[in-house]
């Protein structure tokens, strides 16, 4: 079959089962767009035109995070490629399978400072799992399936493919088509290591499970819950693992670390064994590492050998697929009751609840809002967040009831993630309600994607927790910089409801003096996309909080805060 590089690229994506891609065309990538167009009646790939390449990157991420399968974003050379970088780096830090395809100037012009030329290969090198510069159309036959294989295998991550324009326009004869690339299972963990871990777990008196994003990506959430039950082990989650255990489970202790409830961090102080599954001992989770779980033996399960011992040296380490390891581990473990430890955990949970005013008194307190959203939204809702205070309030108070029920930028902490990720999630999971909780700072960072949302008419509700501040910055300035507020307050905050209407979307602003929760429920119950502007108290803080660099037991909670201001 005679074809061009561009049509070959389209066909290879079709063969990967890709139905939706997000991107923006431009000079160097135009042959690929022409190939999309030329599919005509047989067309199977829908292209979502975004308003900024970063939006395309995060829409692809939303699709990938909602499904676990690699998703594709496309941009042209130069600024198109540089605009994708943040979304690619974000995917790297949160281990999200992403294939980013960029146009490049023709190979004869590479290195000449040609129009819209940038060293995309060099720029993506440190932020991808792997990257390619395709040097011939024939190379695409190898590179494209391999990109999907690398993105989805082992610890998932982003792969970039830079394609010069002459590679897209070149003609070639294709006779043998390569098999589509996909996840290759890692080698199984040796049985004796699983048996060692089982013995160690059985001998522990105060075990705690510490679940990370790897539990979600390996589809091991149910197995982790079974393990917790079997061991009577209280369970903490990282931000990335929220949804792995239903919040109603009596063993669930919520998120650990910087914004955990005090009881959760105190429990970790008392643990004699900590089993980390798909975690990387991130500083936001551990606080000062030397004082993290001081009395616990560490056991660590991860698919990435390089994570073992990176931060904490484990006593037992198992490298492999978490679902496979947990399934085999459970065969070794009889049920254990540990009534004293369970009681201790539930005592700590009850003794240190999240502190917030009652709903009747302050319905728009962020914690009340998040709990209310949990009651109003369907159980299979996908909630995305941006980054800042609202993200931490969601992590503390919104009940994430299913794996992949919360999509959030954890590692890179990218403001602007929420709206495009919500669009991606809605594209990938038709029929499900998607809500994006954002802040007045974050939402403006990719606000242009409201135009994309208005075009697609997806069931995405954007909730702007509006305090007129970069709230988490303001909070840190209050707590750690003696209230010297610099560049954290906005003098002008747009009317987000009017802005939504300007984009052709439903826009609502809640009135604190009226019955805001009823209005919120009505707005959420109406079909289709909307933006809900929610005025919240300007100076509300996310508490408790472990100061950056401090140990997790040095939490600032409400009473300490009061004395700080005395």
């Amino acid at each position: 079959m005679k074809t061009t590089g561009a049509r070959l690229l389209r066909t290879l994506l079709e063969r990967q089962g890709i139905h939706t891609i997000a991107g923006i065309p431009g000079g160097a990538i135009l042959p690929f767009y022409d190939a999309l167009h030329s599919a005509g009646q047989q067309r199977t790939i829908r292209h979502v035109l975004t308003r900024h390449e970063q939006g395309a990157g995060f829409i692809a991420q939303g699709m990938a995070r909602a499904t676990g399968r690699a998703a594709v974003c496309v941009a042209t050379s130069g600024p198109g490629a540089t605009n994708l970088l943040t979304a690619i780096a974000d995917a790297r830090l949160d281990s999200v399978p992403l294939v980013a395809i960029t146009g490049q100037v023709p190979q004869t012009l590479i290195g000449t400072d040609a129009f819209q030329e940038v060293d995309t290969y060099g720029l993506t090198l440190p932020i991808t799992k792997h990257n390619f510069l395709a040097r011939s159309a024939a190379q695409l036959l190898e590179v494209v399936p391999l990109a999907f294989q690398l993105a989805e295998s082992g610890r998932p991550g982003p792969v970039a493919i830079d394609v010069p324009k002459d590679v897209l326009t070149a003609t070639l004869e294709v006779t043998d088509w390569p098999a589509p690339g996909g996840a290759v299972p890692p080698p199984p963990c040796p049985e004796e290591e699983i048996a060692t871990l089982a013995r160690r777990l059985a001998a522990a008196q105060r075990p705690v499970l510490y679940l990370g994003g790897g539990v979600i990506s390996s589809g091991a959430a149910d197995l982790a819950c079974t393990l917790a039950q079997r061991l009577s082990a209280p369970t903490v989650c990282t931000l990335m693992a929220l949804g792995a255990m239903p919040p109603a489970n009596p063993l669930f202790m919520g998120m650990l670390g910087m914004h955990a409830t005090k009881g959760t961090n105190l429990l970790l102080e008392e643990a004699d064994l900590l089993l980390g599954i798909g975690v990387r001992f991130d500083d936001r989770a551990t606080g000062r590492v030397a004082e993290f779980c001081p009395h616990a033996t560490i056991a660590h399960i991860d698919i990435d050998q390089a994570e073992i011992g990176k931060i904490k040296l484990p006593y037992v380490s198992l490298v492999g697929d978490a679902a496979d390891i947990l399934r085999r581990l459970l065969e070794h473990l009889p049920a254990q009751s540990r009534p004293a430890w369970r009681t201790r955990a539930s005592h700590l949970r009850q003794a240190h609840p999240l502190r917030h005013p009652p709903r009747a008194e302050d319905p728009l307190h962020p914690v009340n809002l998040c709990q209310f959203l949990g009651e109003m939204l369907p159980i299979d809702t996908i909630l995305t967040t941006d980054v800042g205070q609202h993200q931490m309030w969601v992590a503390q108070a919104y009940p994430v009831r299913r794996p992949r029920g919360l999509l959030t930028s954890g590692g890179l902490g990218t403001m602007g993630f929420g709206l495009p990720a919500a669009i991606g999630a809605a594209l990938a999971q038709p029929g499900r309600r998607v809500a994006c909780v954002s802040g007045d700072g974050s939402i403006l960072m990719n606000i242009q994607e409201l135009a994309t949302l208005a075009e697609l008419r997806l069931p995405v509700a954007v909730l702007v927790f509006n305090n007129g501040q970069l709230g988490l910055v303001r909070q840190q300035q209050e707590l750690f910089y003696h209230g010297r507020y610099e560049a954290s307050r906005f003098d002008v905050v747009p009317d987000f409801a009017a802005l939504a209407r300007a984009f052709g979307l439903r826009g609502i602003r809640l009135d604190p003096a009226g019955d805001p929760l009823t209005d919120l429920a009505e707005a959420l119950a109406a079909p289709g996309p909307c933006v809900i502007d929610i005025p919240i108290e300007e100076h509300a803080n996310v508490l408790p909080m472990v100061p950056p660099g401090a140990a997790n037991h040095q939490m600032i909670a409400e009473p300490e805060l009061a004395s700080l201001h005395a």
Partner: protein
């Protein structure tokens, strides 16, 4: 900033440090002898491989004291020898290296010392300045 002045014994010509010498790959630093290790990598031989490997070290503020790279057999793969500081975090860097798609294997060459690179440089007789 690492000090790039070559202090290892130069061969007879003993020319002052030239652009060629400092711009070259095999530059040894003027520092008291620190424990070193030699890593042997088998890698895919294509234009991006060296960037991946040097980038990984640079991002971790790890200096590559010496690099030797030669193509193997048909030229599809290369053998690379790296002289690096022997530090506790080297093990973590080795694991990260092993994860690179272009790196096929990583081994410690305990039989090789920094002198191996010095002798090679001497044998290559750096070009005179100017």
């Amino acid at each position: 900033m690492p000090d790039h002045s070559p202090s290892f014994p130069l061969p007879a010509s003993s020319s002052p440090p030239s652009e060629t010498a400092t711009g070259n790959c095999h530059v040894l630093r003027d520092k008291p002898p620190a424990p070193t290790a030699v890593l042997e990598l088998r890698v895919r031989n294509h234009p991006g491989t060296m960037s991946h490997i040097t980038g990984l070290f640079a991002r971790r503020a790890f200096n590559l004291e010496a690099i030797l790279c030669v193509p193997l057999a048909e030229g599809a793969t290369s053998l690379m020898l790296l002289l690096v500081a022997e530090e506790p975090r080297l093990e973590q860097v080795e694991r990260q290296l092993a994860k690179l798609h272009d790196v096929l294997s990583v081994h410690h060459r305990k039989d090789l010392s920094p002198g191996f690179f010095t002798r090679l440089t001497a044998a290559a007789s750096p070009a005179p300045a100017g």
